[in-house]
């Protein structure tokens, strides 16, 4: 049983921002934001037909500027936030905004791949509100409340974490509380993640080499992992099933797994990439599956069984494995208790800045490299059955 070949989709612009449509649980759908200084930027809505292995896309115009970060509302499929660069009078400012996709995009402008002309006439996003933070500096990312009702977002702007309440169908945004990172020099949040645990009262942020945890009720710091990485921390992700477990990655080429109750030592460290690791993601359902993307142009899927929430000792039936025997990627999965690299994906030729699991299909993920190439891959089938059975 061959694994399906990866599906590659090319954007005409460079791109860094990728997210899955969090509120969509049926269709496999990813959103990609482009980066272009010369042309109007776009948000590509990429639908993947798993049955037929076909990609279909829709393009929405994002005229506000080049997109550095994109994030979809967990409650409303049509709502999303972006962080974008706005150039005005020789100044580059990064802003955050909440957008709504025009209702027709799905039915109306579904283009056929053979008809490139349609793309010249895409629809615009409808601005709901700015996450106006001119007083707080440049927004690096906007985070939705996980599994929330789409009423709360946090934006990280320079050294501030701002909690916004969205009211009036998200057309009004007010800062309900904020936290500021104090310290020497110009501190700047590089990444953040809203914890899905503890009633969504915790936030983890990264600045320089440190990882900090915040209590959103008091907006105060609850832990700080100094020197979590040798160099800059690029991304964070919470284990969706284990409330104290956190993954981080950074410029020291390492991926580290932390138990935030004991911040002196990482629980586990992976050192598989040969350059900076820009993105790390736990699989939403099977948290032993960890996806990382790096500027060495590789995407690595790891199987971190030893620190996953799934119980040890799935019995391996020889029959199950014999199917995947001819699959070159599966050999390591025969030892169920071993942490291992499941697969290294080398379809990218430029730095991979974003990886994301599909919110609809837990066995499917997308990765985006700077040159605008989006690759959709699946977890090797043998491993999938191994985990399921």
């Amino acid at each position: 049983m061959e694994d399906d070949a990866p599906v590659i989709y090319g954007l005409e612009f460079q791109a860094r921002a990728l997210t899955s449509q969090t509120a969509e649980s049926d269709a496999i759908r990813f959103l990609v934001g482009t980066q272009s200084l010369k042309f109007d930027n776009q948000i590509h809505i990429i639908d993947f037909d798993d049955e037929n292995n076909i990609i279909s896309k829709s393009v929405l115009q994002h005229q506000a500027g080049e997109i550095w970060h994109i994030s979809a509302s967990p409650a409303d499929k049509a709502v999303l936030t972006t962080c974008y660069n706005k150039t005005s009078e020789s100044r580059v400012v990064t802003c955050g905004a909440v957008w709504r996709m025009p209702p027709e995009w799905e039915s109306g402008s579904h283009e056929s791949p053979d008809d490139p002309h349609n793309s010249h006439n895409p629809q615009n996003l409808e601005l709901l509100c700015h996450l106006d933070n001119s007083s707080h500096g440049n927004a690096s990312c906007v985070l939705w409340e996980p599994m929330g009702d789409g009423k709360h977002v946090i934006s990280l702007a320079d050294n501030h974490a701002l909690l916004w309440d969205l009211t009036e169908s998200s057309t009004q945004a007010t800062i309900s509380s904020s936290a500021t990172l104090e310290g020497k020099g110009q501190l700047k949040f590089t990444a953040g993640k809203w914890s899905p645990h503890h009633n969504c009262t915790q936030l983890a942020t990264a600045n320089d080499t440190a990882i900090r945890g915040w209590d959103l009720r008091t907006m105060s710091q609850i832990y700080c992992i100094e020197n979590a990485h040798g160099q800059l921390v690029r991304d964070l992700d919470f284990n969706p099933n284990k409330q104290y477990y956190l993954a981080s990655c950074g410029d020291d080429c390492k991926v580290k797994f932390w138990d935030v109750r004991n911040i002196n030592e990482p629980v586990k460290t992976l050192e598989e990439h040969s350059h900076w690791v820009w993105s790390v993601r736990f699989n939403h359902s099977h948290d032993q599956l960890v996806l990382t993307g790096s500027s060495d142009s590789r995407v690595i899927l790891s199987n971190m069984v030893s620190i996953s929430s799934e119980p040890f000792g799935h019995l391996v039936d020889d029959d199950d494995l014999s199917d995947g025997e001819d699959n070159h990627q599966d050999e390591k999965t025969k030892e169920p208790l071993q942490d291992s690299i499941i697969s290294t994906y080398e379809e990218h030729e430029d730095s991979v800045y974003a990886v994301e699991w599909s919110s609809a299909d837990p066995w499917l993920f997308a990765s985006l490299s700077y040159d605008g190439r989006l690759v959709i891959n699946r977890v090797p089938r043998a491993l999938k059955y191994h985990i399921l059975l």
Binding site: E12, L37, S90, C253, S274, H275, W276, D371
Partner: protein, 778 residues
């Protein structure tokens, strides 16, 4: 002549006509003149000739006829005169002889006659003598008969005398004992009492003897009391004491009690010795004192104890009590208990011996300790003491090895600190001279470590020296050498070197820069040297010195070498990483802190780039001091004069254009083109080889990749792009020479300029010629 006499004898002396008689006389004469039968027969045999005038068969007729026939007249005449002459002389001779014989006969006859008379007189005297003797015998018998009674009386009297003397002794005994007691001549008292005891016992039914016995008992009790007192006092020497015990034993004291008392007394003294030991500071003195005081006292105690209780000839009722067995049991317990305390003292003392400067002192001390315990072993076979002593020595040796390992390790760390200081100090003082001393530092470091190892080996070797008593124990022959010295000391140290080197990679990795890069480089070279030669050398040296026989599996040289190589590789990788990081940080800061949109038109190469080139050059020098050049690909003739295509990335983009087609397989032709373009995927933090070019390539790769990633995060104005162009050209001019494949530098710089152009709001590239002018001016 004889023949003549014989022949003429019958004629001249005819007294006996009997031929037999004549024959006998003839024989006697012959005897007298010293002739024998044989001579005669010889004569007979020789001269049968009848013409021989001297022969016995001479026939005058034949002779005469012969003469007449053969001789002339003259001759006959001569013969005749000659014969007459001879006859005459013969006649006179014969006359003389006869006369002599006659005289002799006469004197003999006289003598015989005189003897006859004398014998007769003697016979009379003998008779007289025998009568006299008979009378003497008679008298003597009578005297002895009379004396017999008196003799018996004397014997009886003398018997009474001895008895009386004994009695006197008995009566005087109490007084004598008292006196002895006064004079403290206990031995005499006891022996006196012993002599009298049986008698007194026997005659105790008689009141007078009973009195004496009681007195004696009283006195002896007192004596025993006094002896016990002396026993208890404990001031007396072991010899006195043993005498005491002997006496008490003779006084029928219970042996067991005596044993206990003896031992307890000895114990108190030995304990005093032990207490005295605790104050001693110097190990050798400590052991000496332990040996001389405690062990020798112990030996003395054992010896005298055995003399007293064990080896005594068994007599009387003592034999039935089986004293030796009981005594030996007690002795063993006693010795074991004391030895345990002594050993614990010794062990504690040895443990205090931490200074590793001079091992010979400790070895000598241990040797003495061990040697002295052999005496105990001889005295007390079957005792656990010597083996325990050996164990202590073994433990001490083990401990020593551990200490030496620790010392080696701290020496190594100290040397590293020294190296660090050496690396840091001259840089402050003399600037660029510092790197020049790297090879020296390396050789000094490795030489001093080697020396230290050698001196430690020499120190440890003392344990196995031939003149050390314990060196022939199986432990020191086998396990000590292979397991102790080779594994625990040498192998562990090498492992430690490798591991501590690795720790530099790990601890410094996250903090960044806590270890000076030069040290990393130096250590990497050190480990590499270890891998190539030093480890083999050290282990061979060890094996030779200690004649290691590998009974148990030992760490193979190859495994250690592998370990060292791994450490070297890791260190070098880390060096590359650290150096790359330093340059990366400069580049990153320079990109991140500038407002690239509003920058001015470039006039110069930015100072940062010059710094980068300078630093790279100095790294090149530094690495070159320790590592070989390595191979590089051939340079193109105009490496420094290469132009960038600013739009390489945009070209890329146009090539991508047809691939909009979602999910469609890409044009194969295009794919192959792209693959060609990226045929060598650049592994940024890949392991480097052990040569200069590879190291420099690694550092430059890391730096440029950082540059690229940073550039992509920024937005540039027109002049920002131009500045980057200038900077990249400058880097291009200087960096190509350091790397193994200049295309790599081209590729990365192309990417940087391309990405910058892409991130530029107003991408108007600078003229290549202008760039060159600016760069050359800089």
């Amino acid at each position: 002549m004889d023949g003549d006499i014989n022949a003429t004898a019958p004629g001249t002396t005819p007294p006996d006509s009997d031929p037999a008689r004549k024959r006998r006389v003839h024989g006697m004469l012959k005897l007298y003149y010293g002739l024998n039968e044989e001579g005669k027969t010889v004569d007979q045999a020789e001269s049968m000739d009848p013409c021989d005038i001297n022969g016995p068969h001479f026939d005058p007729e034949v002779y005469l006829n012969k003469l007449r026939r053969e001789c002339s007249l003259g001759e006959l005449m001569d013969q005749e005169t000659c014969m007459v002459k001879q006859i005459r002389s013969l006649d006179s001779d014969m006359q003389t002889l006869v006369y002599e014989n006659y005289n002799k006969f006469i004197s003999a006859t006289d003598t015989i006659r005189k003897m006859k008379n004398d014998f007769k007189k003697m016979e009379d005297e003998m008779d007289c003598l025998s009568t006299n003797m008979a009378s003497i015998t008679d008298f003597s018998a009578r005297i002895s008969g009379t004396l017999q009674d008196q003799h018996a009386q004397i014997t009886k009297l003398s018997g009474v005398h001895t008895l009386l003397r004994k009695l006197q002794f008995l009566f005087e005994l109490p007084a004598r004992l008292n006196k002895c007691l006064e004079l403290q001549a206990y031995a005499q008292a006891v022996s006196s009492h012993r002599r009298a005891r049986c008698v007194l016992q026997q005659y105790s039914h008689m009141p007078s003897f009973r009195g004496i016995q009681d007195d004696c008992h009283a006195i002896m009790d007192k004596l025993a009391q006094e002896l016990r007192q002396k026993f208890r006092d404990g001031g007396s020497s072991a010899k006195d004491l043993s005498e005491c015990v002997e006496l008490l034993l003779q006084l029928d004291e219970p042996a067991e009690e005596l044993c206990d008392k003896f031992l307890s007394h000895a114990q108190s003294r030995l304990e005093a010795d032990l207490l005295g030991l605790e104050a001693e500071t110097d190990i050798l003195e400590f052991i000496d004192r332990g040996c001389n005081e405690f062990v020798s006292s112990l030996c003395l105690v054992i010896a005298s104890y055995q003399e007293l209780f064990v080896n005594r000839p068994q007599e009387g009722e003592l034999a039935s009590k089986n004293i030796p067995q009981m005594a030996i049991g007690k002795l063993h317990a006693f010795v074991d208990a004391l030895a345990t305390r002594y050993f614990s003292l010794v062990e504690r003392r040895i443990q205090e011996e931490k200074s590793v400067g001079d091992n010979s002192l400790l070895v000598r001390a241990l040797d003495r300790f061990h040697r002295r315990l052999q005496a105990v072993a001889k005295l007390l076979p079957g005792s656990a003491v010597p083996s325990q002593g050996t164990e202590i020595v073994v433990r001490a040796a083990r401990e020593r090895i551990k200490q030496y390992l620790a010392a080696l390790q701290s020496f190594y760390l100290n040397s590293l600190t020294d190296v660090r200081q050496a690396l840091a100090a001259p840089r402050l003082a003399t600037g660029k001279d510092a790197p020049a001393s790297l090879p020296e530092l390396l050789s000094t470091l490795s030489a001093s470590i080697l020396n230290q190892i050698k001196s430690v080996l020499a120190s440890v070797h003392l344990f196995t020296a031939k003149d050390i008593t314990f060196s022939n124990k199986p432990y020191f022959k086998g396990e000590f050498c292979s397991h102790g010295v080779r594994e625990s000391l040498v192998v562990n140290f090498i492992m430690f070197v490798c591991q501590s080197s690795r720790q530099f990679c790990e601890s410094a990795g996250d903090r960044g820069g806590s270890t000076p890069p030069a040290l990393l480089l130096l250590l990497s070279r050190l480990c590499l040297d270890y891998e190539t030669s030093t480890i083999t050398y050290i282990l061979t040296l060890t094996d030779e010195q200690f004649l290691v026989q590998h009974h148990s599996p030992v760490t193979a040289v190859t495994a250690l070498c592998g370990e060292a190589r791994e450490a070297a590789q890791k260190l070098l990788n880390h060096y590359v990483k650290v150096q790359g990081l330093i340059i990366s940080q400069m580049l990153r800061k320079s990109v991140e802190t500038r407002d690239w949109v509003n920058t001015i038109e470039p006039r110069n190469v930015r100072a940062v780039m010059k710094r980068v080139v300078e630093d790279t050059t100095s790294i090149d020098v530094q690495v070159g001091l320790l590592y070989e050049e390595g191979v590089r690909k051939a340079h193109s003739s105009d490496s420094s004069k290469r132009t960038f295509s600013v739009y390489s990335s945009s070209r890329q983009q146009t090539r991508y254009a047809p691939s909009y087609t979602p999910s469609a397989p890409m044009d194969t032709n295009l794919l192959s083109n792209i693959h060609k373009l990226f045929s060598e995927r650049v592994e940024i933090f890949s392991p480097v080889e052990f040569n200069k070019v590879s190291v420099l390539t690694g550092i430059i790769k890391i730096s440029l990749k950082t540059f690229l990633e940073c550039v992509r995060l920024r937005t540039f104005g027109r002049y920002g792009l131009q500045q980057i162009q200038v900077d990249c050209h400058y880097l291009q001019m200087y960096l190509w020479r350091f790397v193994s494949d200049e295309n790599l530098v081209h590729f990365l710089l192309d990417e940087i300029v391309g990405s910058t152009a892409h991130r530029c709001l107003d991408p108007a590239p600078m003229e290549q010629s202008v760039i060159e002018v600016i760069c050359e001016r800089g």
